[in-house]
């Protein structure tokens, strides 16, 4: 019982780390662009697929096995660096002035397109490549043998992302410019800030984070059609529970939901998928803007 609980906590931490990587990009993009990007889950999936393909290719060219790890990062930067700017410039930049419902529909349409692109390229058979996990080997924690990848690397990357992001947004010029645009776009533009560049930068950065989440998740789960939609719904639950636009809050709710889910996996597997939403609904009933969210001003 305690052993199971301990195992559930370790799984929950690793899982929370993955979800956080996607959720933080989603919330960052929302904070700046005021668009909820439904296609964000697809970036996660595509990041995973590209990482698996690149990894297979790197292994085939007889490169050192350790290279399996940097390949994950490379895949994320490739996916985010290509998809992010293309989508922001070609499509999103045209709809910033449109109604909310149309913005949602546009990202939903993008999501539909990207889901099928994955099927066309990678097919529907599950893809599983655990080379990066094997590189790091296993560690013993108490009586449990656990992979170092899930124990150290995943939570480590998530924590580094959180701290790095906090530092970036508060201490660097670019970061402060992003915060300024988030707070008040008009005022920021009046100060001479190029808001459209900030949008492009933020969207690309968020895309890289989602793809990195996918790349990091790929060695621990098999990639099948549908991972994208599950991830967008789950990371929306995380982001909504924290309050849209809240970065530190997203870490906390990712932990809450990740742990809740993995405990359910061990103790009530039928309800695994329901737990995150029960948590979300419970929080939203009490605090409609999320745990850390601020209500928006109502205009007449």
């Amino acid at each position: 019982m305690t052993l199971l609980l301990f195992l559930a906590i370790l799984d929950g931490l690793a899982y929370a780390a993955q979800v956080f990587m996607v959720a933080v990009g989603l919330t960052l993009i929302f904070g700046v662009l005021r668009i909820l990007n439904v296609a964000h889950g697809s970036f996660f999936a595509i990041g995973g697929y590209v990482a698996a393909t690149l990894g297979a290719w790197a292994a085939a060219t007889a490169a050192a096995p350790v290279l399996a790890l940097p390949v994950l990062l490379l895949a994320a930067v490739l996916v985010g660096g290509v998809l992010g700017p293309v989508i922001e410039r070609l499509i999103l930049s045209r709809i910033y002035v449109k109604e909310h419902v149309l913005q949602l529909l546009v990202t939903f349409a993008l999501f539909m397109i990207l889901e099928d692109i994955q099927r066309l390229i990678w097919g529907v058979q599950p893809i599983f490549r655990d080379a990066p996990v094997r590189v790091l080997g296993q560690v013993e924690v108490g009586d449990i043998i656990y992979t170092a990848y899930q124990l150290y690397l995943l939570p480590g990357v998530a924590l580094a992302t959180l701290l790095g992001l906090m530092w970036f947004l508060r201490r660097t010029l670019t970061g402060r410019v992003i915060v300024a645009v988030t707070e008040d776009r008009e005022a920021a533009t009046a100060m001479g800030i190029d808001a459209s560049r900030v949008y492009l930068l933020t969207f690309t950065f968020g895309t890289v984070l989602a793809a990195l989440g996918g790349a990091l998740a790929s060695p621990t789960t098999s990639l099948v059609p549908g991972v994208g939609v599950n991830m967008i719904v789950l990371s929306f639950a995380v982001v909504a529970t924290a309050g849209l636009g809240q970065i530190e809050g997203a870490m906390l709710t990712a932990l809450l939901i990740g742990l809740g889910r993995s405990i359910a996996v061990y103790f009530a597997p039928e309800f695994e998928v329901v737990i995150p939403y029960i948590i979300m609904v419970a929080v939203l009933l009490v605090r409609p803007h999320g745990l850390f969210g601020r209500p928006e001003l109502r205009r007449v």
């Binding site: 909820l36 439904v38 546009v106 539909m112 099928d116 639950a237 329901v274 007449v300």
Partner: protein
């Protein structure tokens, strides 16, 4: 119904019947299209309020599974369809009480979340739902008479048309009523609506419950037509399909959903067979094009082509 709608409505109904008479296998496709048209009418009501639900396939599945769970000896259409609609209404009220507090992103995504939860429950609770295998539905009697396949399909199609015409008329009456007129007010400026002493939340809840009821009825018709229900009915792709049809048909008229649904289903029969893995992609691309270049959908195209010209002449 005013004449500008009645004429195309009856012409459309006649066209559907002649299509089905010309190509018998189309009866099935067209009945499904009408059922989806019902659900899309619900989406249309919500779109009028500026809200989009990415989870209305939930209510289609609720209606369909209600039909599947009803014991076979009660297999009577006149009982099954009201039951399906009632189930949609009850679930819609329960979920609606929660989601009607939210707008825009939250509204859309919470609906998606509810439908995905329902999907996984249908898939996982194998003992009750037989998981992804789904449940076979015995062909119900209609008014106590057990019909042969061809007669049954005709009855479903004509009955579906009748339901669509009646509910389409009711929907247009609803949109013209004070409550229906309050929906666009939620879209433009909710606070002003509240200053006028009208609860925006209640207006949206009413529209939501109606939309859930319509989708439940549509789900019931789908189950009685396909005679087999699976969890896939509540999967996000089906919710996306409903939203797609609503935008394709256009939000300007209660006929838009049926126009969109019939066009969509007819194209799908051919295109989905030709590109089974690229179907969502085509839908997504068309959706983008409509939103960017023809925001009023097929009904808008029709209006421009027929009604405007008629006025000039």
């Amino acid at each position: 119904m005013d004449r500008r709608l009645a004429l195309p409505a009856f012409a459309g109904a006649a066209l559907v019947i002649s299509l089905a008479a010309g190509a018998p296998w189309l009866k099935f496709v067209l009945t499904i299209a009408l059922a989806k048209g019902l659900a899309v009418t619900g989406i249309l009501l919500l779109l009028r309020a500026g809200q989009v639900s990415f989870g209305h396939a939930l209510y289609i599945a609720v209606g369909a599974y209600t039909v599947a769970f009803t014991p076979p000896h009660v297999g009577e259409m006149l009982l099954l369809l009201p039951l399906a609609a009632a189930a949609g209404m009850i679930v819609g009220l329960a979920v609606g009480l929660f989601v009607a507090r939210y707008r825009d992103i939250f509204f859309g995504m919470l609906n998606l979340a509810f439908s995905m939860v329902f999907y996984s429950l249908l898939e996982k609770l194998y003992a009750y739902t037989k998981g992804t295998d789904g449940i076979r539905v015995p062909r119900p009697t209609i008014a106590g008479i057990a019909l042969e396949r061809v007669d049954y399909e005709w009855t479903m199609l004509i009955g579906g048309l009748g339901i669509a015409l009646v509910l389409g008329w009711l929907a247009s009456r609803f949109l013209a009523s004070p409550l229906g007129q309050a929906l666009p007010a939620i879209k433009t400026r909710e606070t002003r609506l509240e200053f006028a002493g009208i609860s925006a939340r209640r207006v949206l809840l009413v529209a939501y419950v109606i939309s859930a009821t319509l989708a439940g009825l549509g789900g019931g018709i789908i189950a009685c037509t396909t005679l087999h229900v699976t969890p896939l009915l509540s999967y996000w792709t089906h919710s996306g399909e409903l939203v797609f049809i609503a935008i394709l048909g256009g939000g300007g008229s209660v006929l838009g959903p049926y126009l969109g649904a019939v066009a969509y289903e007819l194209v799908r029969v051919y295109a989905a067979a030709a590109f089974p893995d690229g179907w969502q992609m085509i839908l997504g691309a068309v959706l983008l094009l409509i939103i960017m270049f023809a925001a009023r959908g097929l009904w808008g195209v029709y209006e421009d082509a027929v009604l405007r010209k008629g006025r000039r002449a």
